[in-house]
């Protein structure tokens, strides 16, 4: 299991290839990448704040719970903070499992929990000023299915 919280960009292709090459006994790797939307050209970027210390612990706790629920060979989470431009990758998760069902389910679980249980706060930066992104009720509802 690897959890990286960083301001630097990451190379999606390299990370996924290295993760895939490092897993043993897996028949499936699923990955998800979250990008900064440009909202039809109205956004100039995004500022992501986090809680150093708690962030890493919270993500690790979520990944450990995923590993208890599904047969996983490995988990990778990379999440950025700081200022990002539209189109840049904010984060990625990758899961490896003997079979794809577990890898898909665990990746979705990780995403649902990272959304509302990992201490990150997004602020959208645009021509009209800046605004904190509000959490959605649907993000909280998404946790109920697990």
């Amino acid at each position: 299991m690897r959890v990286d919280v960083q301001s630097a960009p990451f190379d999606l292709g390299f990370e996924l290839a290295a993760f895939t090459a490092g897993v043993r006994g897996a028949g499936a790797v699923v990955s998800f990448t979250g990008l900064v939307r440009d909202e039809a050209g109205t956004l100039s970027g995004m500022e992501i704040e986090h809680y150093p210390g708690m962030t890493e612990k919270a993500i690790r706790g979520i990944a450990e719970e995923a590993a208890r629920r599904w047969a996983l060979a490995d988990v990778l989470v990379i999440h950025r903070h700081g200022r990002l431009a539209p189109g840049e990758a904010i984060m990625m998760v990758a899961t490896a499992a003997p079979h794809r069902g577990d890898a898909f389910a665990a990746a979705e679980y990780l995403m649902d929990y990272l959304k509302s249980r990992a201490p990150f706060w997004k602020k959208e930066l645009g021509a009209g000023g800046e605004a904190w992104v509000a959490a959605k009720d649907s993000d909280e509802d998404a946790l109920k299915r697990w």
């Binding site: 509302s116 990992a118 990150f120 602020k123 904190w132 959490a135």
Partner: protein, 82 residues
């Protein structure tokens, strides 16, 4: 002494990211009452607790949780990761 941390718009409303506070508050809610009584910017930040979350020593907690033995309290809006 307890370290109190603020994130996102809570930090912006209060105007600082963290401070050390001498408090006899028994619970998080008591601490919030103490802070609200300090100055308008605190009252504004803590106006609606339903829009706030709290972590004690970097674990999500609740406003009725006791503060005994806690070193670090953090207040922030609902998280928007992923």
């Amino acid at each position: 002494m307890i370290d109190v941390l603020y994130f996102a718009w809570v930090r912006e409303r209060i105007g600082l990211p963290r401070e050390r506070i001498e408090t006899g508050a028994a619970t998080v809610a008591d601490l919030v009452e103490e802070l609200r009584a300090r100055e308008e910017r605190y009252a504004a930040a803590f106006a609606d607790l339903s829009s706030l979350r709290v972590a004690l020593d970097q674990e999500l907690s609740s406003f009725d949780a006791p503060l005994a033995g806690v070193r670090e309290v953090a207040f922030f809006p609902p998280m928007t990761g992923g």
